[in-house]
């Protein structure tokens, strides 16, 4: 199973859309696509809606990106995490490290409510 990545830039940042599986075979190319985007310094969203499986190596790759982003002060958010991938990330503790779209949306909603 291969992995395809596509970049989309907008006013608020960059969205990288991934399609396929993130595993030890494909994580190298994902890293190659993501690290330059992190270095640009713009907020980055990783859209995993079309990602069917993330292996142990894949999770580690995402975490490497996240750590690099933290170091550079860049916001990285995961979006469209499927139920199965989310469960695997939760059971293995990886979910605790990431800002996910759903959580980000909830935080924004809470902040908006607080300022009313």
């Amino acid at each position: 199973m291969t992995l395809h990545v596509k970049e989309r830039r907008n006013k608020t940042g960059t969205v990288l859309v991934a399609t396929g599986e993130i595993n030890s075979e494909t994580s190298g190319s994902l890293l190659g696509a993501l690290l330059p985007l992190v270095r640009e310094g713009r907020p980055l969203k990783i859209d995993l809606t079309a990602v069917t499986y993330v292996s142990s190596a894949g999770l580690r790759t995402l975490l490497v990106v996240y750590r690099e982003a933290q170091h550079a002060g860049v916001a990285v958010t995961l979006y469209g995490v499927s139920e199965e991938v989310r469960f695997v990330m939760s059971a293995t503790g990886f979910l605790d490290f990431f800002e996910t779209g759903e959580a980000a949306a909830a935080t924004a909603k809470a902040a908006a409510k607080a300022t009313r």
Binding site: N23, E25, S55, S56, A57, R67, A72, S90, A91, G93
Partner: protein, 711 residues
């Protein structure tokens, strides 16, 4: 430049191949560390065999029956008795590997080499082949337990060892699968590490601060040929005291085992337990392996170096001190280091806080099986720098009659499961005569056994996975193990249990009330005793195994924690919670030293004193079934008085006078119905009749001598 970017710029000169073997680029590996380790550009494999004449690395694509490569180690890649090779260009996540060891097949001198067998790596950090619990194995695949390569780069954040002082522990023994497998557990992934993680709030509310897990090293649950004669259902190796691979967490215990992520799932559980203030102790089985005797399977050790790893008779047969077919040669220098490497791995890579060693007396036997005066393995583990602050707990006996409770070679470090505590307190609770003298010794931390080692050398328990549950201890006189398919011949016969008048379940309210009282009596005595208390999971809610005292093979509701009982037996659960809280509240119950009877100057009372119906007059006669103890000291201004009556009649107690303005307050009376059976520590009400208390039949009463607020 970030650390990661800087490390990307580092290029090691040993990251390049020097040879080609079987179409793969390779170079000599590093002998240490053993196992398979990801290195720049490839994977380094290192395996020990003293007598092998040649060694071949066998590599499979993940899940495939036939190897994708067989690479014989070049002679120049052998250092001493270690075969080490780095193979470049491997996708570490998508391979499985094993070894073929060639050498002499001469069982009489101990050698059982067979190059036809593919062998598991004893140092494998992951094992594939039993990825999902209970899935029938495909025995047509020659290589069953497949070693896998993994990274060990888990992000522990700020997780550090809790280092809870041993005397402060309250241990909760449980089975990973059994704790949440029941359909009513309500967790996302029943029967897994992730499921257990969801139940951390329950453990925290219960108040335990240490969880002891039955074996989690990879084992084969399908390794049981028996069926239940009553139902025809398959029986399992449910407990898992039959290790296949010592460095690998059991995949079938992980919701993510099918993805090979069991390591991260277990680490996440441990990390969250630590965050909740709960330590993790593993029950480990180094006395034998799953390879059995000469009739058993060859999985790893037998084929790699049989004469090193196992204790063998002069004729080349397996010594059987474990009762399971073989005995690990623990005090052989190589095996000693293997055990040490293994435990270091679990401490360093999994942040494990301690270990309970199954049939640990075997760890003190010499190569010919005789007990050693100074067993080098036990000393090594006691002083190892990495293990230095872990808890080491011995089951200080073995299956061949070596019983070392109180005499286990401790080196100032080892604690023991105190079997004598269990037997004495059980006998007292069921109403045996002639027990009060020994009961006093046991609840004082067994100074007869552990003088000089301190009370925390004694792990006090009344029930464990092995034997009756607490509810069955008060409901059955005899074991009922027919479901195990061994004609009720398995399991212990000396249960010291009493059924309260009827064997098994009953509708009789009086008997059921007595059983509840007896369970509370047991929990109360356990949790006021000096030493480390250990509870069996489910006892706090009266979990029954229907009289089966050996559920090693029962993967069903006989073994599983029934979460409906949390509500049904809320009274007992509340009692247990409050007793644990009481123990935490009163330092004198957790003193680091055995009591001596020395008078505490500011109170004018000894640190321990014994009483009977009359204060200061304990009845030590053979017919006595009543004993009261008062404790004070250890930085606690309160006095704790515990009266234990296993007599079938009530007794009027004269209470000892208290110093200063202290008065007696009632904390617990197991003879009273809920909610008057127990209160929250610190909320005890003052006794109306200050100097007297009527203790009911078969009851335990706990009083606190303290000043009233505002005094």
């Amino acid at each position: 430049m970030t650390e990661a970017a800087r490390s990307e710029q580092v290029r090691r000169i040993d990251a390049y191949p020097t040879h080609e073997v079987g179409g793969y680029r390779v170079r000599a590996g590093k002998p240490f560390p053993f196992g398979a380790n990801v290195v720049p550009g490839g994977v380094s494999f290192s395996v020990f065999s003293d007598q092998a004449t040649s060694m071949t690395l066998v590599i499979y694509r993940r899940g495939e029956s036939e190897p994708m490569a067989e690479l014989e180690f070049p002679e120049e890649f052998r250092m001493g008795s270690v075969f080490a090779m780095t193979v470049f260009g491997l996708d570490h996540e998508n391979i499985e590997y094993g070894y073929r060891a060639d050498g002499p097949f001469d069982p009489v001198v101990g050698h059982r080499f067979d190059a036809r067998q593919v062998l598991s790596d004893p140092y494998a950090r992951l094992i594939a082949g039993r990825d999902v619990w209970g899935v029938p194995p495909d025995y047509s695949r020659g290589y069953q337990y497949r070693s896998r390569v993994c990274l060990q780069d888990f992000d522990w954040g700020d997780d550090t060892p809790l280092r809870i002082p041993a005397e402060d522990l309250v241990v909760y023994e449980t089975h990973v699968r059994g704790f949440t497998r029941h359909p009513n557990s309500g967790v996302t992934a029943p029967g897994t590490f992730a499921g257990l993680r969801e139940k951390i709030p329950y453990l925290k509310e219960l108040g335990v601060n240490c969880i002891e897990l039955l074996p989690v090293f990879e084992f084969d649950e399908s390794d049981n040929p028996r069926t239940n004669p009553e139902t025809g259902e398959k029986l399992y190796d449910y407990w898992g005291y039959n290790t296949v691979s010592f460095f690998a967490p059991k995949a079938g215990y992980a919701a993510t085992g099918r993805y090979g992520m069991q390591g991260d799932e277990l680490r996440t559980l441990i990390k969250d337990l630590h965050a909740a203030g709960i330590e993790v102790i593993l029950d480990v089985v180094f006395n034998h392996t799953a390879e059995g005797n000469e009739m058993g399977p060859t999985i790893s050790f037998k084929g790699l170096d049989n004469a090193t790893y196992y204790m063998l008779t002069p004729e080349g047969y397996y010594f059987n001190f474990s009762g399971t077919g073989n005995t690990v040669n623990c005090n052989h220098p190589v095996v000693r280091n293997y055990v040490l490497d293994c435990l270091r791995h679990w401490v360093a890579d999994y942040h494990i806080d301690g270990f309970r060693f199954d049939l640990a007396a075997i760890l003190g036997r010499a190569l010919d099986g005789t007990p050693l005066p100074n067993p080098p393995l036990l000393e090594l583990l006691a002083f190892d720098p990495v293990l230095r602050h872990t808890k080491l707990i011995a089951e200080a006996w073995d299956a061949a009659g070596l019983y070392e409770v109180g005499n286990f070679p401790a080196y100032g470090r080892w604690a023991e499961w105190n079997g004598k505590y269990r037997d004495t307190v059980r006998r007292f609770i069921k109403g045996d005569s002639g027990v009060v003298g020994e009961l006093a010794t046991r609840i004082a931390g067994s100074p007869d056994l552990y003088a000089g080692r301190g009370p925390a050398a004694s792990v006090n328990f009344l029930t464990a996975h092995d034997g009756f549950s607490l509810a069955d201890m008060v409901a059955y006189n005899d074991k009922h193990n027919e479901a195990n398919g061994e004609n009720n011949n398995d399991g212990a016969n000396d249960n010291n249990s009493w059924n309260c008048g009827v064997e098994g379940p009953t509708e009789d309210p009086e008997i059921n009330a007595l059983r509840t009282r007896q369970m509370k009596n047991a929990l109360a005595i356990l949790l006021i005793s000096q030493g480390i208390p250990m509870l069996l999971s489910g006892d706090e809610v009266a979990r029954s195994q229907q009289g089966n005292n050996n559920t090693y093979c029962q993967d069903n509701e006989l073994s599983w924690f029934d979460w409906d009982l949390v509500e049904q037996n809320a009274e007992l659960l509340n009692f247990t919670r409050q007793m644990i809280a009481f123990r935490k509240h009163h330092r004198e119950l957790r003193s680091t030293d055995h009591p001596t009877g020395a008078i505490r100057a500011d109170l004018g009372l000894p640190d321990i004193s014994w009483h009977g119906e009359r204060a200061w007059q304990p009845d030590w006669s053979p017919d006595s079934r009543l004993l009261a103890v008062a404790r004070c000291g250890s930085g606690d201004d309160d006095v704790v008085y515990v009266a234990m009556n296993s007599h079938w009649e009530a007794h009027d107690l004269e209470l000892p006078a208290l110093p200063g303005r202290r008065t007696w307050h009632l904390f617990a009376d197991t003879g009273a119905g809920a909610p008057h059976d127990i209160t929250a520590p610190g909320t005890e009400t003052e006794l109306e009749n200050a100097g007297k208390y009527l203790i009911g039949p078969r009851s335990v009463v706990i009083l606190v001598g303290r000043t009233n607020e505002g005094d």
